[in-house]
Each structure stands twice: as C-alpha cells, then as structure tokens.
Symmetry: D2
Subunit: 475 residues, 4 copies
C-alpha cells in the first residue's frame, strides 16, 4: 500500500468554471470582492486573486489555493481603493501556477488595466500566433492574455472603445471584468454562455458571476447582464451598451446541471428549482419500482428531491460525504478497491440493507465513478440499484477551449445506455431526455447550449484546427 | 466594514470530541492510521498527529490543521514500523498549539511510550498539582499528560500494569490508546462515555473511535470495546481485561445527537437511524401544520428526514451550506447582520417564499445562531417558521472537563421554551422530550448520560472544586 | 528604543553590480552555474536565478536572497540540460521583487530565449516608451526587458542577427548572456564598462563576470572577452565577432576600487594588487606620521596593506567586522549613537588606545559613515585619526542608469577635502589623486571611465533627459 | 558531479560555544538581549532564543538559524517585560532541533523559570538516569535540562537556594543564566571554564558571555564574573555570592585561541592582543626564511600579524574568504579536488606566485583541511609553504561533554610534527609550544585549562564512564 499524493480533483468529476467579482465606488471594495469570491468558491479552487485600484495605481494579491487560505487580513489591507475586481480559478491537471492566475494586471501605453475572465475563446490560438509573430511576448498560457495584448495594441480611443475593438476580434465564451481609468466594465459574450449579474450595495455597484455572491456581500440584485451586453460602471453611473450584432443565446446548460450553486438564480430561474424539475421529469420518464431514492451528494441532491416527490418513493441520505477532502490527499498506491470514491463517500449500511435503491447523479463521464458507487452500494447490502441521471448522455465534447481530452473518453459517445448499465453493473440505468431537460428550464428552452448532448455547436467547429475543451476531469 | 480574522469555530457550535486510531502488526501501520484519522476528521480539526514504532524507536509527525494538510507523502514516509497510533484534536478558543497536540511521546525510566486520548478527566487538576509538588515538569495543559506522568512514576511491573496502576487514580471520561514495548493497548473508562471499536485488516488489528474509520481503512468490525475494558494487542493476539469494578454505563448521548458521523455504528445502533428516530419522535410530540421540513445542514439532516417521514410534510433543502469555510476567515468587523451564519448558510428564496417552514436543528445553545437562522429564513420570504430541536433543552453543563463557561450561557437553563421562541423570533419552538430521546435509542435507553438535559450527573460533582466542560463553543 | 527592521544595505555603501554565468555543453551545466554564481555573490545578494535548457525547453528556478538560500538540491535537480545561464542581482531600495529578477525567459515568435544582463542602458527609457506605444506589454521595470522586446520584434534572421539588430539600438553599459537555439552568446558593450571572461572545463566552455568564478567551477581562463566582442558558443565551437564600430574603452574604475573580488583578474590585472598599488600611491601622496595603519574592513584591506608597506607604518586590524549581518536586522529606532556602523564594526580598544591611527577606506559618499567610524575610533581611545581614501573624491554621479539620487548627495561635489575633514571630525583627510589612480592601473591608464571623479563622461549626457545611476546606497 | 547538500560546518572546524545574554530592569529588555545575541553570533548559529518576563508570565520566541533570521520585529514585540534572557546555540552534527534550543522555560511547583546555559556537564548522564528512574520526563537531550529537573525537585526555599542546591550536585563547565521570581541570576562554575561578564546600561544591569556584546548593547563593563561566583540581580541591586568551595581556575584556553571574538576582553586580556602574542612567540620559536606571512582567514589573522611583526617578514592577504557561505550549500558529490576549502578560500595567485610563504592557522585537527590549503597555495604558484600553528599540537580530547568522537581523530595524538608535515605536504610545519602559549597569556598563565594539549585534566576523567566532548567538527 504505497501512498501517493492525489489532488482534490479526485473528489470532482466536472470541469469547473471560474468566478469573477467586481465592486465600484465602495470604501471597502477589496473586502467586498473577497466576500463575493468566497461565495463563488465552488467555481474554482486552484487560485484566487484580487486587484484594487486607488489614485491610478493598482494593487494585486494572488495566491494558489482557496480564498480563505490565500487572503489574510494583512493581505486584504494591502488592497486600498474604492474599486476592485477578483477571480477564482478552476483546477486543471496541466499548468497550474501563479502565472496563470487572475486577475491579470498590465501596464501598457495608456496606463494600467486589470482583467478577470470566465470562459474559453475559440480563436485564441490563431490570434495569439499572429500577435507573437508581431513581437508580443506572452507571460501565460491563458486565453485571457490574448485579450490583454489586443487591447495594448488597439489604436482606438478610450478604454471602452479599446475593449470593443479587441473583443470584436474574439470568438467564444466570456464573461469579463475590466478595471481601468476610473471604470469597471463588465462584458458578456453575445451568446451569453456564462452568467453575470449586476448588484447594488447602497450607492455602490458590483458585478458577480452568480447571484449567490450578492447575498454574502450584502448586495441586492439589480438585474442580470444580458448576452452581448457591456456595462460601464463609473462616476457617471451604470451605462449599458450592445456593441455587437445580436446572436442566438446559447447559455451553457451545465451551469444549471452542475456548475452553479443551488441558491443562485440565472436567467430568472433558481438553480435548485431547475434541478428538482430535472428530477421530476426524470422520474416521469424513467420510473422504476423501488424503496428509496438517494442522491450522490452533493451534486445529485436537488434532482433526487424532485425525483422522490414525483415518484412518491421516499428520499433518504444513503451516502455520507466526507467534507474534509483537502488540496491534496495521500492515497494508497496499491489500490484498495474503490478507494477514490470511498474517500469521499461512505454508505449507511443499516439504511440500505435489503433495499431497492434509486441513485440520482447529475451526469456520467467515463462511468468509472458510477461503477464504484454501484459497487459500494451493493457491498452495503442494497438489493437492487437503479442509476438515474438528471441530464442526457454526454456524447460530445465542449469545443470552446484549449484542453486536450477527446470524445473517446466519454462513455456515452461509444456505448448505448444498456451497455453503460452493464459496465457499471447497475440493475438499470436511465438518463433524462434532451426534451425533458429543455422542458425543465421553461423560458430558456431554446436559449441553451446543449452541444455536449447533441453535437449541435452554436459556433462552427473545425475539429482539425481547434482542440476541444476538457469538459471532464479524470477521476 | 473593517475585516477581522475569525476561526473556523464560527461555523461550529458544539465542542467536538477527539478521534483516535491505532494499528498493530501491519507493514503500513502509519498509512492506515492516516486513513483512519481522515475518516474521523469531524471529531477534531485543530491538529493531527501520528506516532509509529519500529525497533524500539518511535517516530512522530504532528501539525496544526487537518489531516490532509498536515501529512504529505514525505512526512508519512518518516513513519516506519508495524504499529502506530494517531490522534485528531478538537479546536478550542484557548491554548491551541502544537505542544497540546497528540499523540504524546515520552521517554521515561522503562523506555519510550506513546499515548492518544479522547475524553476529559474529572480529577486531573488535583493529581497534576500533587505531581508538580513532587517535582514533575509538565509540557502542556492537557489532562492527558497527567496520565503520562502517573505512568512514569508508577512502580508497577510491565507496561500494562503501570497503565492500570495509573488509571486507578483517575476519574472521568476516557477512550485511550497506548503504544509501547510491542503492545498497542486500548482502554475505555468504566462508564464508557465515548466510543471505541476493534477492527481487523487481514491478520492485523486496529482500534478506532468510530466504525466509519474502519470502512476507509478497509477493515472489518470485530466488536466494540466495552465500558471498562482494556484490550492488549500484541504478538500474543488480542487479550481482554476488566481491571476495575463495573459501573453503570453512561454513554454520552451527544455522540448520537451531534458528535458521531451518521454512517457510524455505536453500541450496535447506526447514528443516522437513531437521528431519524429522534426526528420521528419529535414529529409525534411537536407536530405543527406546515408546507416544508428543512434541516439546518448538516447536523439537522437525519432528524429532518425522520420528521418529514413521520409528519408527511415534504422534506427539502432550503439552506445551502458553503463547503469552503477554511481554517480562518476574515470577517467584516462592523458587522453585516447575521454575518457569521450567512457565511455558511444561504437560503433558497424561490423555495421558501410564502411557505410555512419547519426547521430542524440538533440543539440550541445560546440561541443566537437560531435567531439568525430564523431571520435569514424570514427575509427569504418564509411565511411561518417553526423551529424543532431533535434533543431536549440543554439546561446543564458538562462537568467532565477543564474549560470555563458556565450554565448561564445556556439559554435553556434560564428561559422557558416559550421565552426562547420569543427570543429567536420563531413562530414556534419545540424540543424533543427526554423520554422521547430515550425511546429513540432502544436498548441504550438506560445506559446514556443525559446530564446536560437533566442535571443527573453519573460522577459526583463538586461545583466549587471543578470547573465545568465547555460543551458549547461561542458563535 | 523602538526597534525597526533595516535591510542588509546598512552594511553596504556602494551600489553593487550584477553577476552572470553561462555554461555550454556540460552534463551538469546548472550545477556549474550555481557554483559560479556562488563565487560572484558579492556582485548581488538580492536575488539569484538559473535557467537551463534541454530539448528546446527551458527550466527556470529563481528566488529572492542569496544563492545558497535560493537553491536547494531539489531545485537544482529541476534544471536539466547541457547548457544554462545564471544571474545574481544587486539590492536596491526600490522595486525588489521576483518579477525583477533574472535570467529573463520569454517565448516569442521564434521560440524561447533566456537572457542575463549586467549593466545599465542609457536610452532604455526612450526605447521602452516607443515599444509600449506600439503595444508591447512589460512585466518588469528592468532595462534588460527592453532588449528582450527588441529581439521579439526584430525581423532579422537567426538568433545572433536578432541580437545584433537589437543591440544596435541600445546605448549604455552591458555584459550580456543569451541562451537559445543551441547557442550561448556573450556580448560586451563596445566601451567595455563591465568585465566578462571566457573559461574552459574539459570540452565545455563558460562565460563569467569575474575570473574568481572560474576557480570554484574548476575551470581555466581562456581569455577575457574584449569590449564590443560577441562570442557565440555552440557545437561549432567558440566563434568571435565584433559587429559594431570600435569605441574608446571605458572600463569602470570602480570595478577595481570596490566592486570586484580581490582574487579576480580583469584586463590582465589582479584586483588585490591594483588596490595595494592604490594604497602605495596614496601613502606617497598623503603621508603622515602615525603609529598604525588600519583598514575599514573588508573593502579597505588591500589598500591599507599597500599603504603600510610603502609608509613603513605597521598594519593592524583595529576594527572587527561582524560577519553575521543577515538579510534584515531589527534596529533600535530611537537611535543608539552610531548604531548602523556599530552593527558591523567594533574597535579593538586595547590596540587603539593612545595611538595615532591612519584609517584606509576605498571611498567616501555622504561621509556619514566615515564620521561614525572616526567617532568610534575616537571613543576607543585613538589619539589621532587620519582618514585616507584609496580613490579620488567622487564629485559626479554615474549617468548610465535609472536610479534617482543626485550629485547633491555626494559630499565631495560640494565640499573641499578640508571641509570634509571637519565634517567627519578626523585629524586629517586625504584622497588618492586621479593621476595616482591612473598610474596604479598600468596599461589600463587611458582605458578607464573616471567620470565619477572627473565628470568626463564617455557617453554624452543630457541631464534633463536621463536620470542618473544611483552609485551609492544610503547608509 | 552529483550535488549534495552540506551544512555550514564545512566552513568551520572547531566546535563552537554557546552565547548567553541577560538584561534586568530595562523597558526594552528583549531588544537589548537581541542586540547582545547578535554580537555573540560567532558562539553559535544553530538556534537562537529569547525569553522575557512580565507580571510573572514568561514569553518565549525561539527558532532555528541565526539571530537576524529568527527574530522579526513582530516576534520581538511578542516579548514584553523589563527582564529577559537569551541564548545562541552551536551547531552539532547530531540532534539539531528546536526542542534542544534554549532558553528553556518550565512551569514547576514554585512557578515558572527560564534558564540559558553555556558549557557541558561531566556527570549529567548519571544524574539524568537517577531522575528518570524517579519518574522525571525529559523533553530534550541537553545537559541543561538536568539542572532544570534538579531545581524542580529541590526542597530548598527560594529560587536562589534551589539553584545552589541543584548545582551542588553538578560537575562540569557552566556559565548559566536563570530568570524567575523577579531575579536574573548568573552563575559561573568554580573552575571558570567559560567567560561571563557584568555590564550596566543606565540603571539596568546585564550579563553577557563576552564583552563584545556590551559594545553593541550600549553598555559599559562593570566587571567579569569570577569563577564560582553567583550574582543575583534584582530590585535589591546586584548581590554576589560564592556558595561553593574555591577551585583552581581552569579557563578554557581555546576561548583565547579560537572561540572568542578578537574585540572581547576576558580575564582582563584582549583576545586580539593575546593572539598576536601567540604569533610573536611562534615566530621566535619557529622562525624560517620567507617572503610573505599570510593567515588562514579569519581565525589566523591576529596571530599572523604578530608573527609578521616579530619576524619582519611582510604580512599579506593571500587567501580570500567567501563571506556568503549560508546555512546549507549544495556541493558536487563526485568531488572536485579540495572543494570544501575552495568554497570558502581562494588564493590570490598574482601575489603568491614564486613566493616562499608562511601560513598561520590557529590549530590543526585532522589535518585534512591543512593539506587542502597547502595544495591550494601550491597550485597558485607558491614556491615554499611553511605552515605555522598558533597553538600546541592538540593531542587530547575535551572530556567535559557528551559528544562521541575519539582521540584517534586528532592527527597530533598519533603523529609527530614531522609526520604531519609530510601528510599535509608542506615544506615545514611547526606549532607554538605549551610554554610559549602560557607565556602569551600573562597573569592567566597558571589559570588555564590546557588539557587538550597536555592531557592534564582539571576534573578527574574516567574514560570508560564518560564519553568525551567532540571538540572538533568534521570537515
């Protein structure tokens, strides 16, 4: 049983999104950004950073790790000024260093600017290559730095125009915050892949990835930023622009399925309620006789509640989650069976023994985790195990990014549902239908990006040219 | 909004217990202890330590913080040998330093010994004073060091006899692990206040505070250690002794109510099932018409499920818990209202709006947290809020320890249930009855210590002489 | 006596130079660079860095502090490859961060390159402004980054040509190392302000700031690099070029006076021997009757030996230097008299009592330190104190740089020697003459830059345009 | 050339002594102790610690490393009170941990006490064994803890009496500082092996290992503490006692030869002057025709000056010492010849070439370093090399301690001077005679311990019982 260090990702299957927060015109801008980032911690635990601005200077504090670990009181006190932006970054297997962390701050011909970015660009690589050919020197491998260089080279006048000029060259997913010259500027890409919301704290304004951040910051929601909208917050108030031609909205359905926090509201829909609706549709579509409905905590909880309500089968907590999985864990090398899953989940044997159990999870990637969960429940004495998934089979990769794994890793891209059931050794497996999923999101029905389920990409994909986004983390 | 550093205790109301693990005769003893401690992390997050033994030498690695943060692979590799013991310590406001952490290792006249202790002694102070008068020099303020000095001065022959000799002078609560001279010895006090279980991994044996640790270690439960039992694990196998006269068992009911993990089994009863039973009795005793039953997560979850089942009122998740509260958090000084609670809990407004809600918590201490939760729910739009507590009013302090707060801090010691309801501004408040609680624990009915509810102390209390245990942490 | 943190600069009066080392074609290139940097530690203690190259990739390890503190075995093992360059940086009051440390490594259109720079450019600011206007983004405030951006934008073909193209735009002092595309390239500016030498270790070649580094690296000196010379070390061997028109050599005389190590040889002259010669000339020019000649250690030692030899007055060690002045020292705020000097120097009272003492120092800047030394010696009982300086009065600032202090801070720019003597309260003060200094350096007599003594600048100075180099650190 | 981490001891041959400082009745007691320790840094670089006392409480700050590295302003501010004691510890190969560092602070029956110790006890082991048999638990392997336990068990009344009671059981070398109950107490063993001096700062008093500390503290020397003297500093002033019968003074001659700083005065003699006198006697006894006298810096410097003065042969600096050897250095494994010495010393070839050189060192241990120095000088071109040692051959080990190396490691214990000369390949080797050494120390002639030269031990030695002190560190 040689021990090996494993990352936190063991405990996480889905690629996370970043979280961003900006505060304008508040005497404690940085402190508020800190609170907002803390509430958005679920969107990224790799690194956290805040940049504040006072008297034309910018102050940066960044570090690897979680918000509460990165920021001490002393560090927060190093961040003066009435405006600030912040960022939490998701954890990838690859380049994970402070150089990649955000916000990015650079000096350029027109002064100094800060930027925080959530999303992935489709044509970053080509633009980057062109800029490098022209002598630009990059400090990181992030998409976001491409935007910075475009702004530095823009000949447009004024910071807002330079941003528009630069983003006009960009294709992809972005919710962006910029800070410079007495403005904080928020920008959401025309397809609106990821969320962004505007809040108010007294006379001050703030921009946040999800509304749950507003609650902790003591702010109230003004409204969500629309796809394609640019808001300029300055002493002149909040001004709104739509510099680009409108596109069909393609909001990332995985924000509802997995990324966002249940207590957030996006496009007017509460995430917990949407997930319960997924569960209800799932129950209707895939009903089976059983004694218990249990979630794979925490991501399956809301859908399991909806499933239980709809089906009338009692909901219970059959898997206890260990809350103390830290940044790194030393795992036995010579693997104890199902170790990765056992580390975070332990069954309540006395509850499961002899029962027919419906287990609700939000999605299946490689199915190795699902297989371990089934085995865990079986060994705890469950008589029947029916796996129910509150989203459709993920057959296609997300192409709006730079990570490398391929469609081949997605079990649903090459296996039928029945084959998956045999692989994970469940008594049955069933997924929510695409139609059921769409029905669950009400007015958003036609405004979601379902490419990972349908292959129907809102932006043209040239597979030989772009590498795809690593939507799923390895177990 | 000046920011102040606050400890993790903000997120925790109840004093935690320590967790202990020992492994005998396994080539990777320290690695297994590490896994066991990880599973017992909920019993203490202040410090973690492991001591292993090889060829008569002992190797110690200890650190402040959580198991996964304290132990790197490099540190685990510094722990050779086929036997090891480990400890996780709870976090107190007072002396919180590495010097207080365990296991304790000392050299004395008969060699070297290690010790890990869960519990609090009643007469530690008097014995300590006597030892100091005789020239003993103490390194820490822990009760546990008293036992060590008694053993160092014992004239009895052989390590087991020295332990018995020393413990014969001790009164109080203890589950203890000792390591020396080729033995690991486990000892549970005659009243059996805290749990201790024996497991088996192949040919090796282990001792753990709770059975949930066995699951992660890949061990099977042999049996629980009985009150007053001493087990000596050596190459001669596992031998059992009861060196002291039997006492009435007084198992700490708060292990069932709050301390233990739901997936553990203690005295043959699964903790989650016991808590659901508390909830069912609570529903029968305190029923009220409502739309929703929600728990205060995570400690109220099991009881809320039981309450919902019994009452037929739907269970839902109305408060989302932030999982990322770290060791320290910088809090606004000029307090945002309800900040401490908002940090960890956020309501799902869309669910609660206009609803009559029953909220289940495991206990009320000062009631300040309960008051904040009621207010949080109210501001989220709940129409009625009925607080239901899955244990009786805690009117009396726990006297088996050295911390200082007094009965006056317990709101139930000086207020009627009705007054508490008015204080927390709930539409109603009700507690489980002592009788209902006892009924819920089946065969343990007469074997539990309920002193904090009834004032009926199993060990004589001399209030002017002993200071009481700080059962509750300040918010 | 409030205590304040003071930097190591207390112990140092003169601005230091950087040190650079490159090794080509050695299986342990990085280890050798490490040894070389260690030997050049006197040229800069602020930061240290090494970049190695293997298979077209570059590996960087940098840190604040001294070589032996920055590099652990583990860090050295992160530096594979048969070529490497390294850098130690001097400590300034201003921006002192890892971002400013070297070597710099950047990716650009033609791949990846590393650069290490000793010197200061005269027209860095103008070029920098022009580059920024064109959209370049700078990461540091160093001159050296200007060169990097010029190379990144150069349209010339091949790495050597791009270097020449870029340096043709640069004016100032530089000894440079470049690493890329299978070459290590050394370049010394046409006036040869700072030293650079070529060595050989078996079949491998190396480039170092001073020859003392060769000794520790186990290398032999091949020859010194000439002013204006570019050497390209590759698998084709060592090739030499002089791409720019020749200029009059202007070697920085302060390398002989203070910067270089006594055991180094520069332009064929051993530094210790040159300093002794300064001392001999000083004795001839400024003789005075006395009992003892003592140095201000360590920088006055060589000249004091020469002075004693020439004058026949016994040399002794009258001031003991504390070797343990670390990175930071906490100094009493409410200043104990002469504290800064007492920290590093303590007189041997028994030696000095009643004696007429000649004290030799290498230079006087503001004279505050000299004043304290005189007072220290006086209080130790010295009867007469004659301060003798082994260089001429420094009346002019060095203009090849970017730091800010002005001529007004140099006491010799506004005071006669007699006035200086009264200020420092010595019985007499005398300096070496410019002529005597020139005579001491033999064949280099007409090839040295004496601008700080004579105001005769080898490169045209436009005072309103360029800020001057901070030649002297504040005490 | 695999690289290996080596300690600073490479740069040091002789075991160092500890340094101690105490300050009574000063508003900035801890700050003054800090300055004193800084001045005594040469007596120990392994760890540093300060304990201050206010209102009956003690405050401790300790750390591994040098004074300036261990103490930040923040740490010094954690040390309130008008009295404080401090300690710097020498670096040994063996147990080198914070647990071994001093001052030691313990709570015992009569309150709390602090202790700082310079020296080694002869009978520590026996007393320790007896205490352990009686149930004492030790925390470290230091001699000093034995004293602490004796005090804790003493039945005498009052802190001073308990100290006397305890020290009456002790044999060996000690200069001790105690702090408790409003006193600082200094105690020097009856034979006075190591120095201790009393100083005055305004109305406050201080105790220091060497007088050089007084200079930096701004204190004046009152007088040195006599062998066997106990001084009690309290609000009643400074009281002196001699509790034990007088013994013949046996001051450690190595304090004059190597340990102490040249600017210190011990028993009325300045160390630099004594060393010069060693050099003069050495010149008279071992004269040889030569061109140059050079020291092995820094320990040979004073004697070399005396030798040059007496012989009329010019003194010069032929070996340059690298001042930047840090705590650890990564050395090539596959050893470059003479690496250890090259790291710290580099010859000035231009000075040595073709010269007949006399090299002065303070002592020879194993002779491996001397051999490397001879070779270094030879390769630098020296024609003749005459090694002269400013102390007699060290044939006997120091028996006042617990370290383990034996007489066999001392080359002089088994080789004639002629054999040593052949081994180190010098043209000649000669030592100072014991008689010459004694003549050099004037009134101390009959009051020094010369056991390491003569085997004439002032305290009876039972070789089978006590292990000897490791006087010399391995190269």
């Amino acid at each position: 049983m040689e021990m090996e260090k494993i990352g936190e990702k063991t405990a996480r299957e889905w690629r996370e999104q970043c979280g961003i927060v900006g505060v304008y015109n508040h005497p404690e801008a940085a402190n508020l950004v800190y609170l907002g980032l803390f509430a958005l911690q679920h969107r990224g635990q790799e690194s956290a950073g805040i940049v504040s601005s006072e008297d034309g200077k910018m102050y940066t504090e960044k570090g690897m790790g979680k918000v509460a670990d990165v920021f001490s009181r002393a560090r927060l006190e190093q961040l003066p000024g009435r405006m600030a932006i912040g960022h939490v970054r998701y954890s990838t297997a690859g380049e994970s260093s402070l150089a990649e962390s955000q916000p990015i701050v650079v000096k350029y011909a027109h002064g100094i600017m800060g930027i925080a970015h959530n999303g992935n660009l489709v044509n970053a690589e080509q633009i980057r290559n062109r800029l490098v050919d022209d002598g630009s020197i990059f400090q990181s491998t992030t998409d976001s730095e491409v935007i910075v260089h475009l702004i530095a080279r823009s000949k447009a006048e004024g910071f807002p125009r330079r941003i528009i000029d630069s983003l006009s060259k960009i294709e992809g997913a972005y919710s962006l915050l910029f800070m410079a010259e007495g403005h904080i500027i928020g920008f959401r890409d025309p397809r609106g892949f990821h969320p962004l919301a505007l809040g108010k704290i007294g006379e001050s304004h703030c921009l946040v990835s999800e509304t749950c951040a507003l609650d902790l910051m003591g702010a109230t929601l003004v409204r969500e930023i629309e796809p394609g909208e640019m808001v300029i917050i300055s002493d002149a108030g909040v001004r709104s622009f739509k510099p680009f031609p409108p596109e069909k909205t393609s909001f990332c359905i995985f924000e509802y399925i997995y990324f966002a926090r249940p207590d957030s509201t996006i496009h007017g829909l509460n995430v917990h309620m949407v997930r319960k609706e997924f569960g209800r549709h799932l129950a209707r579509e895939t009903g089976v006789d059983a004694d218990l409905v249990i979630p794979v905590p925490d991501s399956g909880t809301s859908a399991a509640l909806g499933y239980a309500e709809e089906s009338g089968i009692p909901y219970d907590v059959g898997l206890i989650r260990n809350r103390y999985v830290g940044r790194t864990f030393i795992e036995p090398k010579q693997s104890i069976r199902h170790f990765g899953v056992k580390l975070k989940l332990n069954p309540v044997k006395e509850l499961l023994k002899g029962k027919r159990v419906i287990v609700i999870d939000d999605s299946i990637v490689r199915a190795t985790t699902s297989k371990k969960i089934v085995s865990l429940l079986r060994s705890a004495g469950a008589k029947e195990i029916h796996m129910r998934i509150s989203s459709p089979p993920t057959c296609f990769s997300c192409y709006y990014g730079i990570d490398t794994p391929t469609r081949q890793e997605l079990i649903a891209s090459s296996h039928t549902v029945e084959q998956i059931g045999r692989f994970i050794e469940a008594d049955s497996v069933a997924y929510l239908s695409v139609e059921g999923m769409k029905e669950s999101v009400g007015h958003m029905k036609e405004k979601i990006c379902c490419a990972c389920f349908t292959g129907d990409y809102p932006l043209p994909v040239q597979e030989e040219q772009f590498v795809q986004l690593r939507l799923f983390e390895p177990i």
